[in-house]
Assembly symmetry: C2
Homo-oligomer: 255 residues x 2
């Protein structure tokens, strides 16, 4: 057996989380099922957090606007569902063949991250209105419950441009910088790396999503142990004026 | 200590890989540093594979075309470097403020994945011309060397639309489906999931990139142990006519 000298990372699903309902104390449930260590990164599917907080909307109570009806007739979706999507959005980038929009907290996503799977029929789950605060709240709660300094990430599953399939994406985080910033560091040959920023929070969220599974496995929380720490910043969303693809799409849609 | 009943995944860096040069036998070097088990997933940075195969280009030998000079004057890059990018590309989606193009094997990337970091000055590394064949070749070599049935992924680091920072992305793979296909499966409430395809190969590639690090840590190979298997398909690239964002951008650029 060759000895590994380096640090390896363990990725551990939190097993046994029941179906979550409004009012459930999600951090307490998780802390009762898992023994944390300082430095662990706890990744939670935002849909489960939203359900625990009642961030769900019954479509029966929604009256769609003319705009929602117009978009829904193009996309073939429920106009009340589209109304929820519009209500969540701050800026619409595309309406057809799917709604792509900017949320108030900066995230850009298809259908504004509104989800009608893994929830009772006729109900839509919305993303946590302030996902950064939600991640911090969970982090604080885990600390109060366990005394352990755990970092947290809330995820959503999102499509990407140019590539098929969804991946887990970070929408809120606490205790770690979203982006590891290598600018100014040197590569193996001493060349200064000018523009290398690594979106580590999404790389972690993505693999957490792999462990969670998407359908009826139902593992909404995963712990990464041994990740170390890094320097960087949280500016994962482009300012509107520097977002090239968004600007081009908007220009086209506004024509 | 709460017992974990579920499977956890171990992510292990392959330590000790030297700087790779043309002609080096990369699978043999890795097999000499790591004890594989059946089912392991070996992720390798494509830049290192390319270097071992001599997929590098000395810029001094490149004569830039008028087109390359024109683009380079806009982007502020070396026109010989842009010529290499154009030579690698099958279809240019954007020229400014960065070249975004389609490679013959389907991957869409900025600067066609051509890299001038972690290589001698004046040299550019290109992506493996056939990354699927490269992943299969490494897989076969590891099997011959170790007798272990290992799955493989080759990665590149790529930017994304709408979000800052790069993430590891799969450009070649062997022994596993790129996309886990949940279509037809039911969610927790029995609703049929209609469009859920998860790009697991990118979720694994992304977290592998986190472990590799980007600058002078220089760990170009990582092993994932305990990932299980899944059903799906390899169609990670949209056919051109169904790629919404590509179509819109091309429309704009062609105007």
């Amino acid at each position: 057996m060759v000895q590994q000298t380096g640090m390896s990372v363990e990725v551990i699903p939190v097993e046994g989380i029941p179906i979550i309902h409004e009012g459930d104390d999600l951090p307490r449930i998780i802390a009762g099922l898992f023994t944390f260590e300082d430095g662990d990164i706890l990744i939670i599917a935002s849909s489960v957090y939203s359900k625990s907080k009642g961030h769900t909307i019954e479509l029966d109570k929604i009256k769609p606007s003319k705009k929602a009806i117009e978009i829904a007739s193009g996309t073939g979706e429920d106009s009340r569902f589209i109304q929820v999507v519009l209500d969540q959005s701050e800026d619409i980038i595309l309406e057809y063949p799917f709604v792509l929009s900017v949320l108030p907290h900066g995230h850009i996503g298809v259908r504004a991250g509104v989800d009608n799977s893994n929830v009772e029929k006729g109900t839509a789950i919305i993303l946590p209105p302030d996902p950064m605060a939600a991640a911090e709240e969970i982090r604080d709660a885990i600390y109060r419950l366990t005394g352990k300094d755990v970092r947290t990430i809330l995820t959503d599953t999102c499509g990407r441009a140019f590539r098929r399939g969804q991946t887990g994406t970070a929408i809120g985080w606490s205790g770690l910088p979203a982006i590891s910033d290598y600018r100014g560091k040197t590569d193996l040959f001493g060349t200064v790396l000018e523009i290398t920023e690594e979106a580590v929070v999404d790389e972690i969220a993505g693999f957490a999503n792999f462990i969670m599974g998407e359908s009826d496995r139902g593992i909404p929380a995963v712990v990464f142990r041994g990740c170390g720490s890094w320097n960087g910043h949280d500016e994962i969303y482009f300012p509107e004026e520097t977002d090239i693809i968004r600007g081009l799409l908007k220009k086209l849609v506004d024509q």
